[in-house]
Structure formats: structure tokens, C-alpha cells
């Protein structure tokens, strides 16, 4: 593994195909070809030239474009698999139940294989990470030798190099004047012209060669931004429900921010006020105009341990509407949902026969009192409260949860004529009198509801990184797509003047440019060796 010294004196790394300086062919295989493979300037993509240690072997694996393409293909196929059935964040049943119930054996298999959370699975992340690694190594392995080769290139090139360029021509009778004209014209066309012993190298748009690498840097930054989201505190996306009149801790703010919900407002379009849309509104029914929560944001001051009442300092009042979030210190609180919750129940204590009322009581379902005194010797005691009532398996009344979805009570009603009281079980549309016929009854009068605002708390500090990555990505694409790297050699060889040219794309444009440059001179247009070859074949 020795470096190769070219006859021009330049020392090339092992594995170089074309001398970086003069372009002489160093690889015997390449000599047999009529045209040169100019990719990466014939520089030594080192990884492909030797592998020794484990590190080199890993490096070489990721340096292969073939491996990179396969990684992308596998990731694509995996991503497709994740779209066959809904992912776990879009289902409202426990996944172990949902998939089998909805999709049978296939659903069960899908769940068992872990495809219900495919995009969060370790192997999917690993695939993405491997694409990232491949991107970094592929780019490094190519951009460094390419940069070195382009930097080391000399004006005077080896005959074999010029002869094997796609565009090549020989002129025998030339005077210096014509070459000077050509040089001037090339400069006018914004070529950077270098001269050495009367030989010319005109070059432009070299920076377009860096396009793909700028693009890759953008992609890597983009992936890095995605990775940042896993750092605690960088990316927050949480739901927060706050009842009217209550204050709740905003999640993921380090127990710093508290949100008080003063009022939830729901407005509809009014048919009377919007005459123009009367018909449409009639057809559509209620159309919501505004979802709004009037909130106050507080910040905690001082230390606090859980369970302690926090000391709060008001930060600001705000009316949170759809698309008008409350923003503070990088957090955005969006209006995203609402629900109406049963909050209180009102009963009348009546005499069953006469239907005479002895007073009314309203029970707060979040915090019921033990005893309600109605005056004149009438009172009602709650013996048992079931916020989410059901009959348990053993037939006993019980509650499913602490949420008042289906409240039920066991009351003891005391009246002057019933000093020991009467017991009654009351649920929605149901009254049971366990100890025989009662004189009194808790007549249901109404329910009170309370609105609960649903907020989404968001914070995304990684967004800027992702945007910068995206911008660089596009710059790279534009750089590589809209500019070409063109080189024209005009050189004296064996008393003749040889003209050769190379571009990384848009050969037609290059040929047109050479035509213009050589117009009205003794220099003849060089030939496109690739095209003449194919036309020859067609001619036969």
C-alpha cells in the first residue's frame, strides 16, 4: 500500500486511477478504455482500495453507495408496513385488544410483531440511524479525495488523459493569435482561465460539484434535529384538560407553569345575523364560529414539594382560540378540544303522596357534602356516593371510576315525622327503596354541567435545526442541479494543439459553448467521441 508517484512528480494516494495533477492513467485497466471514467476525478476512494482493521471494514461497509441504497429501500418497505393498520396512537382501545378484535389473526400478528408502534421501534430508529451513518461516511469518503484532486490538478495534462476525454480534437496549423482570441472569449464567458507554458485550462462552476455534499450535510442536520427531539425538554406535545374555574399544572414545564381556566366559550354562526349564508346554515345545522378559553397563566415562585400549595405569580391573561395559542417561554398552549361534564345534581325532597316539596338541594358531584339541612327538621344525608355507578359482580352497588359519569346515591331522608329516617337508593332514572315503602322521595330536578377545555401544550426547540437542515438540503440540490462544472483544455502536444473538454452534465451546452468560442478561428471544433462512436455503429 504505497503512494504512487506519477512521472509528472505528483504523489498520489494508493488506488488513484488518474494522476491528480496531470491526469496520467495510473491504473492499467483504465488504459484499455477509449474514454475515461471521470467520476470523482479518478481519485482514490480510499475505502474501496483497502481494508485492514475492523474499523476500516465497518467504514467500508457504510461507504458503499450500494449499501446506502439498500438501507433506503429497506426503510421504505418498513415504512409501508406501518401504514397497513392504524398505529397505536390512533386507536382508543388497548392495543392488545384492538388489533385482534378488529383485524383477526392478521391484527394479532401485526401487534405481536410490534408493527403497532413501528415508527417508534428500536429497529426502525436503527435503520434511520444507519442511513445517517451511511450518508456521513459516503460523503466524507468522496468529497475529500474529490476536493484534493480538483485542487491538485495542473494546467498541462497528460496526453492519455486528453485523448480519452469525451470531447476531443486535434489541430495542426495554429497561430498564437487564435489561442489568444480563444482565451479572451473564454474569460468573457466567465471561465477561470489558467495558463502554463502556453497551455490553457479554462474552468467554471466547480462549486456545483459540492452540491450533493451540501445536500447531505443538510440531511444530516435534519436527522440530528429529529434526534434532538429525544432530549428531554426539547420537544413537548401533551394534552391538558382544565375544568372551568380550576387551575392545573401545565405538564412538562418542570412544575413551573400553571393554567387557570376561567371560562370556555363556544359560539355558533347565527342565521339571523348572517343572512347571506342563511340557506347554507340551515342545511349544515350548527356551525361553530369560535372555540375559546379565557385563561390566566401563572408561574410558580419559590421551591415547592408535591402536595404543597404553590405560590403563583400571574404572567398573563389570554383568550386562547383555535390557531391563536398562548405562547410563553417557547411553550404554546393551543385550544384543541372541549367537553361538557356533569358537575352537579339537584333534587327536591317531596312527599310522595302530596308531592309537596320540603326544600331543594344541589350536590356538587366533585365534592359532595355529607349532610344537607333543609330546615324545619328536614335533612338529607348521603350514606353512599357512587360517581360512576354499576352493580358489581356480587350484586353490590359500586363505582367503576372516580369520574361522575353515572352518579348514584344512597340517601337517608329525615323528616319531623320520620326521625330515624328513610333510606333510598337514587341513580339516574332509577329509585330503589330497599326497606319498603317510603313516605318521602328525592325527586330529580336537574343537572348542572361544567365545561372542560382541552388544550395541547407544545414546544419544539428542534424546529430551527430541522428548518436549517431543510434549507441546506435545498441549497445543495440547487447548487448541483442548476450549475455544471465545465473544463476546457487547450494544449500544445507534439507541435499540435489539442482541445479536450469535460463537464459533469449538460454536454450539449458545453459543445455549444465551445463552438461559440472557436468561431472564426483556425481551430476546428473538437468531436464528441461518445456520439461519433454511436453514429459509427449506427452507420454500419
Amino acid at each position: 500500500m504505497k503512494d504512487v508517484k506519477c512521472e509528472c512528480g505528483h504523489v498520489n494516494p494508493h488506488g488513484t486511477v488518474l494522476c491528480e495533477a496531470c491526469g496520467k492513467i495510473l491504473d492499467e485497466e483504465e488504459k484499455k478504455k477509449q474514454l475515461l471514467d471521470m467520476r470523482y476525478e479518478g481519485s482514490a476512494r480510499r475505502s474501496q482500495t483497502y481494508s485492514k482493521t475492523i474499523i476500516d471494514k465497518i467504514w467500508n461497509f457504510f461507504s458503499s453507495v450500494k449499501v446506502g441504497v439498500w438501507l433506503i429501500v429497506i426503510t421504505l418497505i418498513a415504512s409501508i408496513l406501518g401504514t397497513i393498520l392504524p398505529q397505536k396512537m390512533y386507536i382508543d382501545l388497548p392495543p392488545e385488544v384492538y388489533y385482534e378484535q378488529e383485524y383477526g389473526w392478521f391484527g394479532k400478528l401485526y401487534y405481536q410483531l410490534g408493527f403497532h408502534d413501528l415508527y417508534g421501534s428500536w429497529w426502525y430508529l436503527l435503520l434511520i440511524a444507519m442511513i445517517g451513518i451511511s450518508l456521513v461516511i459516503c460523503s466524507l469518503d468522496r468529497v475529500v479525495p474529490l476536493y484534493k484532486a480538483l485542487k491538485a490538478q495542473r494546467v498541462t495534462r497528460h496526453e492519455g488523459f486528453l485523448k480519452r476525454q469525451r470531447i476531443f480534437g486535434i489541430n495542426t496549423l495554429v497561430n498564437q493569435q487564435d489561442i489568444d482570441i480563444v482565451k479572451e472569449r473564454l474569460k468573457q464567458k466567465h471561465y477561470h482561465v489558467r495558463e502554463e507554458n502556453g497551455d490553457l485550462l479554462a474552468e467554471k462552476g466547480r462549486f456545483s460539484r459540492w452540491g450533493p455534499y451540501v445536500n447531505h450535510v443538510g440531511l444530516i442536520i435534519f436527522l440530528f434535529g429529529g434526534m434532538l427531539r429525544f432530549v428531554p425538554g426539547v420537544y413537548v406535545n401533551e394534552n391538558l384538560w382544565v375544568r372551568e374555574g380550576e387551575t392545573a399544572l401545565v405538564p412538562e414545564t418542570g412544575e413551573q407553569l400553571y393554567l387557570q381556566n376561567n371560562k370556555f366559550i363556544l359560539q355558533h354562526y347565527d342565521k339571523e345575523k348572517n343572512k347571506t349564508f342563511e340557506k347554507a346554515l340551515e342545511r349544515a345545522g350548527d356551525v361553530v364560529k369560535n372555540y375559546q378559553s379565557n385563561v390566566v397563566l401563572y408561574k410558580r415562585s419559590g421551591e415547592k414539594i408535591p402536595g404543597e400549595k404553590p405560590k403563583l405569580e400571574k404572567v398573563k391573561d389570554y383568550k386562547v382560540r383555535v390557531n391563536h395559542p398562548l405562547t410563553f417561554e417557547g411553550y404554546s398552549i393551543y385550544q384543541s378540544s372541549y367537553r361538557s361534564e356533569m358537575n352537579s345534581m339537584t333534587f327536591n325532597l317531596i312527599n310522595k303522596k302530596t308531592e309537596q316539596s320540603f326544600g331543594e338541594l344541589t350536590i356538587n358531584l366533585q365534592d359532595p357534602k355529607e349532610k344537607y339541612d333543609l330546615g324545619n327538621g328536614y335533612s338529607v344525608k348521603i350514606l353512599n356516593y357512587f360517581p360512576d355507578f354499576e352493580f358489581a359482580k356480587n350484586g353490590e352497588p359500586s363505582t367503576k371510576s372516580r369520574v361522575p359519569n353515572n352518579p348514584a346515591f344512597i340517601f337517608r331522608m329525615t323528616a319531623p315525622d320520620k326521625p330515624k329516617g328513610e333510606t333510598s337508593f337514587v341513580a339516574i332514572r332509577q329509585t330503589i327503596e330497599p326497606f319498603g315503602d317510603n313516605t318521602y322521595k328525592m325527586a330529580f330536578k336537574g343537572i348542572g354541567t361544567k365545561n372542560v377545555s382541552g388544550f395541547t401544550v407544545r414546544k419544539d426547540s428542534s424546529l430551527w435545526v430541522i428548518i436549517i437542515g431543510g434549507i441546506l438540503f435545498m441549497i445543495g440540490v440547487i447548487q448541483g442541479a442548476y450549475w455544471n462544472h465545465r473544463r476546457i483544455w487547450v494544449q500544445h502536444k507534439n507541435g499540435e494543439v489539442w482541445i479536450a473538454a469535460h463537464t459533469n452534465k449538460n454536454w450539449y451546452g458545453l459543445k455549444r459553448e465551445i463552438e461559440k468560442v472557436l468561431e472564426d478561428t483556425n481551430l476546428g471544433n473538437p468531436e464528441d467521441q461518445l456520439q461519433s462512436e454511436t453514429t459509427d455503429k449506427e452507420g454500419v
Binding site: I55, I137, I305, Q366, K369, Y385, R402
Partner: protein, 174 residues
């Protein structure tokens, strides 16, 4: 020259591998977030019991604390409560304290529950789920065993038998 290249490659690969490993680790931790791990200091809290007495966990240094989270509506909680109450009487003079925390229920429901099961240990209501959040609980009942130095010795969710309760209290006896 060749050595330098090997070092460069090793460094670049190490950085990439570290980034990938961190991402995978963070992703794994997100799913298996356990806020209070065994061996860690138990998060301090202050709650007021039904008699109006304040209980601060750090005030119980020097005693073992049997910390139980529950709800009146949860059937396994109902089952294990009498066991805890029995063992509380056995161990309270041996330096084991029972603190039991109801999650966000009404005083009425909790008081009726205490009366029905004749519970003698302090019962507190975590009105804003703050303590529950601090301990990262999502299933009831949940029990944390805290030793005399305030360290978590064991945590468990689900119903306990009386033998388990006894064994656990034995564990945290100072």
C-alpha cells in the same frame, strides 16, 4: 499517515455510534419511564390527612414508611386495605409508618371508605395528582417501601395478600 486515518475514522464512528446509542436509549426510556427507581431517594411530599394533620415524608426519617396509593373505586384496593390496617397495628410500635394516599376523590367518598373499613392509619387525598405524578404512578393500587434513610427499597403495583404486607413491613423495619 495511515495511523492518523485510522484514528480519524475511529473518532467519527465513535461519535456516530454514541449519537445512535443515545437516541435508542432515550426512546427506550420514554416507554419505560419509571420515575422512582429502587435505591433512589423517595420524592418528598406534604399532604394533609382527614383529621387535618400535615404529613411530610421527610419528617419520617428514621422510620420505615409503607406508602400506599389507592382509590375507593378500585376493587383490589378494597381487598388489601384491611390487611394493611391489621399489619399497621402489628408494626406501628416497631417504627413502621403507613401513609396512604387516595387519588383525587371527594372527601365524602374517602371518609365513608375509612368508616366502612375502620382504617386507623393516616389517609390523605392527592387532590391535584401531584404526588401521583411525582411517583410516576399509572396503576392502582401502588405501594412503595421506603426505609429509614428515605430510600425506596421496593415498589409494587396490584393487590397484596396479608402475608406480602407483613413481609414488606418486616423489610423496612428500622
Amino acid at each position: 499517515m495511515k495511523k492518523r486515518r485510522l484514528i480519524m475514522r475511529s473518532i467519527i464512528l465513535a461519535i456516530l455510534v454514541a449519537a445512535v446509542a443515545y437516541t435508542l436509549y432515550a426512546n427506550f426510556m420514554k416507554d419505560h419511564a419509571q420515575k422512582v427507581a429502587v435505591g433512589n431517594q423517595a420524592p418528598d411530599f406534604v399532604l394533609t390527612d382527614m383529621q387535618g394533620n400535615k404529613h411530610r415524608l421527610s419528617d419520617y426519617k428514621g422510620q420505615g414508611v409503607f406508602l400506599n396509593f389507592w382509590g375507593t373505586w378500585c376493587p383490589p384496593c378494597k381487598k388489601e386495605m384491611p390487611y394493611i390496617n391489621n399489619q399497621y397495628h402489628q408494626f406501628k410500635d416497631q417504627g413502621v409508618q403507613v401513609l396512604s394516599i387516595d387519588i383525587q376523590e371527594s372527601e365524602l367518598a374517602v371518609n365513608q371508605f375509612i368508616a366502612r373499613y375502620k382504617l386507623d392509619f393516616p389517609v390523605m387525598i392527592d387532590t391535584d395528582k401531584e404526588v401521583m405524578t411525582a411517583y410516576g404512578i399509572d396503576q392502582l393500587p401502588a405501594t412503595f417501601l421506603i426505609d429509614k434513610d428515605g430510600k425506596v427499597v421496593k415498589s409494587t403495583t396490584g393487590e397484596m395478600s396479608e402475608d406480602m404486607v407483613r413481609e414488606y413491613m418486616e423489610k423496612i423495619k428500622p
